[in-house]
Chain length 295, copies 4
């Protein structure tokens, strides 16, 4: 299936119900960052901000807290104990909070492979979960298929080609047939799998495959993928109480992300779409007259 | 009574007198933030900035000082000693300053319940006072009605439904009849009470009730309320020497805050009104031709 | 004399010579800030940035260095040893640099009275010097008239009424006759004196008095004065090699500063001109078609 | 040869190939900054961001890491051990990374002369290399001509007149004949040499000389040159796999940088082009209708 504005917009959490409050509009827990890779947490969080999510909690190594507060004053920053290398050693939620407080968890950007314990913990949880970047590499080491088959809740994987190969060493090579590879991966893991690339492909465990037909090479920049993870996390958290297929939400996030890149490239050329700028264009996509008229 | 642009604009501190200086345009003391919840202090302060207040002093735990200076270089940041948990342990004003220097105090966002001492101190003062967030939870533990009846100066409470129930466990349930609940709360505490929600209700001790007829579910985001507290604090400080009923100022702040949300949602959809963005739209409300023509 | 756009624009360093380099376009040394009052250094520096000055060096207490670097990456931040109270203890310039490297010095915002030594040092120097805020209070303690009569180089004082009274306890009260007071102060100190207020008055030692006829009460906000000090410092540094009377440059800075306030108030109402916003409007004054056509 | 929009635009990495990824769009390593001169690293990095480079790694002294992360969340910040004076003591790349990971290296802004070891290391490497600022002063101490004749890979030097004289004490004085001086310097070093000034001149080892005919004295500000170094580094990294002469890329960077200054000066006057503002105008140059139609 091809993603179109119409299919996308039917899955966005719009319009909101007139009577609501922040916890009803989704609570996302992001788990991101390390002393070595700190910026990815900022970019992921700015992606989540743009999703409209009601509440955003961000678990980072304690030493990254000030920088996250400064960029995201509206978020609750959860400082976590650190390993010697500066990775998150364990999740340390505020008192009286546990993972059941969250409608979705987005985990991965900037973690490094030393954050194994926390990745194992969220995989073992019953929460809808997005795994990206180093969380995928840790999952690969745990054994992708065996590990994910034990999960009851929704899982979304967002690998690029290299990560896909590490996750699924025995699968058809995604460089040869992307659709075949992603469909097989989703079927065997019961996860929704988004394979990044010029034509992003998304497969559901039931065998449905979405293709994102439009994108731009302007997005071939460090940090672009982090923005997608945050945006997707925020949408997933908002959809928690609604009857929308997870793969449709993933397709919507992919479309929104690439449209922001396209719009930014139109205004700023293909050289002007660094990942920070990209976060500022997410909202502009929905404000375009053509899109707005469909909302 | 329904809030309208005309009723609102008659209470704004506009036009300013031609001859004035910064201390004549109100000095607000904000008491906000903790190591755990640092961002709320930023958002409250940005709300206060937008109010036009002449001088802004911000008491925060010492460790939050650099981040507040960076966001609000025009404010005087008062670093305070911290409890072991990172809350404000006590108010430590600069030499030769005491609470009588301030025209109003806004207290609450991000404090945690460990900031009991400072909340008790400001409640015991003779300054016009806004209590929000954890300051309300601390007030509830002190005994809301008995405590507030001892105050001589103006008090404003800004609870959401959950906080209202903790403050007034023996009152009519605000979920059933918001107007009844808020009127009763104001009458018994002699405070102006603003009950947050889709239709914000404001009651004066004399029994007058304002309803804010327009709002937007886009404001159902973490941090939205902090912005209101700062905006209201700034307006209250500016009104200190004027003959304007406190409940009218509270109504004005509620209207201004929700109109900023509405305007932002029109331009950015209901997903685009994170609390930081909201602070940037406050000024735009007054700059709208329709509003400006009334000023 | 009344300041008009035409008189002002004839003193601006425009157009620049086609062949020049950064050190020919003025090198300003700012001496500002303390741990207690850190934001004033940022605002002063943003004022100096807007002046167009070729090189900007900013001496601050060592602990303020990161925040200044972040806001002003183009400036050279000189971290200085601190007193126990967090004031600058002494000026510590980089190797092979001394005060003769600078075309002007602007000293005062946020210093606290504990920065006495550095204020004495710059007063004793042969550099054009602007004293503001706590530098004025320190000067008052040194004995204003006796101290300044020993200076050979240009001095500019920028007191508000209270500071004026501390500087000149034996002079006519500026509240009664501003022009008389400021003229007398300039004559006795051989400094150019700018007295802040709704109608800012500027006097030269020779008895010339400029009045800034237009301003806005929107500027009655904390930090507004810091912006003026930086702007004036930058203009003074750029004029170092030119034949322009110092009082004319001071008048130009006062006009530019107040016009920025007026323009911001037109767009954002009188409540919308916090000191940070003011810094962003300085450039817009010169870009207005009516002004630009005169440049 | 005179640089024109047509010659320039033929060397820009536009349009990008439809199928690509971030590592194919160039990986630049910047080596910049010291505790004393920290802001230059930010400005250089913002220049590199504007170039469109796929991946940006920034080596700075460990203590500068937080500030770089905050400004450039999309970059990989490599914290390095520091000398006692706060310079980079040695390059400490992440595990499994060495200099061969990078398509180009830009080295110099803010280093101080204490960063000798790292400058020697990159000169000894086989990577395309830009040397600026203190890296040029260190090179001069090493012996410019003898040192560079040993390099196999591309070298670009970007001195202003003073640095040129230190690099080439025995050459014709660039103040007398810029073209002669720069051509001779390039011939003897086999480097591309860009001599900054009102009419920037660029020479290739083969004797080709480019002149940048248009510039603006508005660029005579601290930090302008840092922006050029970053922009040039990013373009060089993107060109690594293409058949474009290095001197043409250098000419393109010089044109782009000066056009950004010209555009900013048109909108903001010649006083409005501080180096930070300049970084924000780089993208606007390519978005101008006249330029865009050529892309």
């Amino acid at each position: 299936k091809r993603i179109t504005p119409a299919t996308v917009l039917s899955t966005l959490p719009l319009p909101r119900p007139q009577v609501t409050h922040k916890y009803k509009e989704g609570h996302l827990l992001m788990i991101c960052g390390s002393r070595r890779y700190a910026g990815g947490a900022i970019l992921t969080a700015l992606g989540a901000r743009a999703s409209g999510v009601g509440m955003l909690s961000i678990a980072v190594p304690e030493s990254l807290k000030p920088i996250l507060v400064s960029h995201l004053p509206e978020a609750l920053i959860v400082g976590c104990p650190e390993t010697q290398t500066g990775a998150i050693a364990q999740l340390q939620l505020p008192e009286k909070t546990d993972l059941s407080s969250f409608h979705a968890i987005a985990c991965g950007p900037g973690l490094t492979k030393d954050a194994t314990a926390i990745v194992q913990e969220v995989i073992a949880s019953d929460r809808p979960l997005i795994l990206d970047a180093d969380a995928l590499n840790i999952l690969a080491q745990m054994g992708t298929i065996a590990t994910l088959q034990k999960r009851q809740a929704t899982t979304v994987l967002t690998p690029h080609t290299g990560e896909f190969q590490r996750l699924f060493p025995d699968m058809p090579d995604p460089k040869h047939d992307r659709v075949l590879a992603v469909r097989e991966a989703a079927a065997q893991t019961r996860a929704v799998v988004l394979l990044k690339g010029a034509r992003t492909a998304i497969a559901s465990p039931q065998g449905l495959v979405w293709i994102n037909p439009e994108s731009t090479p302007a997005l071939a920049r460090g940090g672009s993928g982090d923005v997608l993870t945050g945006l997707l996390g925020g949408l997933l958290a908002q959809a928690a109480t609604k009857q929308i297929a997870v793969e449709d939400i993933v397709a919507t996030a992919a479309w929104w992300h690439s449209q922001a890149g396209i719009l930014a490239a139109q205004e700023r050329t293909e050289l002007g779409v660094d990942a920070f700028t990209l976060t500022q264009y997410l909202m502009k996509v929905l404000s375009k007259p053509k899109v707005k008229s469909l909302l």
